[in-house]
Amino acid sequence: MAEDLVLDTAIRDWVLIPLSVVMVLIGILRHFVSKLMRSSQVPDAKIIKEGQLIVRARNLRSGANFIPPRSFRARRFYFSNEENGLLHVPKGQAPNPQAQMFSDPNMAMDMMKKNLSMIIPQTLTFAWVNFFFSGFVAAKIPFPLTQRFRSMLQNGIDLSTVDVSYVSSRSWYFLNLFGLRGLFSLILGEDNATDDTQRMMQMSGFGFDPTKSLGAEKDSLDIVQHDWALPKFEQRAEAVLRKVLS
């Protein structure tokens, strides 16, 4: 039943390639526009301090075995002390993130700008694709698919007998959307504004990092067992010297 449909090469010339080119150009445009629109962020003292604190606590954890036990315990106490330890976040302050997000106008504006610059081009391009490039088979996917994908991939095609591997141009649009990320990182260098998928993941989990990670650091610091590595070093030094002298 699945005969091979022969697709006109004109489809390739006038649909697939222009669509990819347009998406690349729009991506580049978005990148530069977002660069222009990005307001300079005033670093907040508290955030910087907390970031540095986390780095220091992490260093303490990783290097714990290199300093004498007493120093390690003193530092751990300094960090996780109940009253005024640096990592200890009093319960009242914890539910801060949401309120802070909306009360800080700058940050809200930033987020909105980022979202807009992502959503609008996507929506426009999608509408354009639907309007111009619907109603025909655009490409054939090289592997067989089940019938469930029919509604997703063959949206404009109203024939139910066509093999599911033959898809409409909408699916080519989605393929490009996710696939061009690699191309953009080549052209525009890392950290470009077109990294939508990353931003989408970030949008869902926008907890304010510091307070949560402080608690996490404190917990991991409490777990650490101090196993002083230095005594072993004496024997290792002996071995090294013996090797050098032999």
């Binding site: 003292a45 290199f66 004498p68 230095l230 004496e234 090294v240 010297l241 013996r242 002298l245």
Partner: protein, 302 residues
Amino acid sequence: MVSKTEETQLSNLETQVDNGGGGAWEYLSLVRKLKVRRSDRVLKHGLSILNDPKKRSSLGPDEWTLYEQVAVAAMDCQSLDVAKDCIKVLQKKFPESKRVGRLEGMLLEAKGAWAEAEKAYSSLLEDNPLDQVIHKRRVAMAKAQGNVSVAIEWLNKYLEIFMADHDAWRELAEIYVSLQMYKQAAFCYEELILSQSMVPLFHLAYADVLYTLGGLENLQNAKKYYASTIDLTGGKNTRALFGICLCSSAIGQIAKGRNKDDKESPELQSLAATALEREYKHKASDKLSLLTAALKGLKVPS
């Protein structure tokens, strides 16, 4: 810390540029990236690029970075006129810029006008209270004026906020050692060891401080850290070898009579002594007799 490959690359470029080959721009970019201090060469080669209008225009937007780099190098070499010219050019291009303001403050500092530089830095800090470089320049100024206690105070305040800055910890440790505040210096070196545990330099410095503090426990710890330095440097560090010998003899003197557990590393001292003798034979054979005499005086009284 500059890695070995980068160091060789830097010295290769240096010789190439000094002998008239091309590659001045790569050399300057590498110096900038590695943050090493080669001010005389930077000044010479940077000026040769900047004074040649063709080479200057071929740099494009990097031209201004080069101006900044040459200005700082000029201040380091006390060619204040060169520095002033560079800063003037930058000022014309970027009025109201924080980076240029910082360079102006540095120029005042280089001229020795401490009060005005202080004022400039404070005003810059008001607009931008989290600029690390300006904080550090203030500390450096206090230290240059000889006002070490003020330097310590500021450095401590800086470290309260930016506690992951290991260069600052190192500077603080050295200041404390210069003031003989060894306990505090030990704390700073511990911070450094925590953040960079595989750098033998910090183990060695920490061991030195512990040895200077004295007391049985500190001496034993010092011995352990000298051992770790030996381990990390493959036995090539002469100071660590000496440290082991001195520590062992000092421990032996204090723990005379008590049979302290020397089972951990009974042979370490003799091995270290032998290694020292071999090194002296290689490198300074005329001083070998001095060494043997000194080592004999250190022998642990059993």
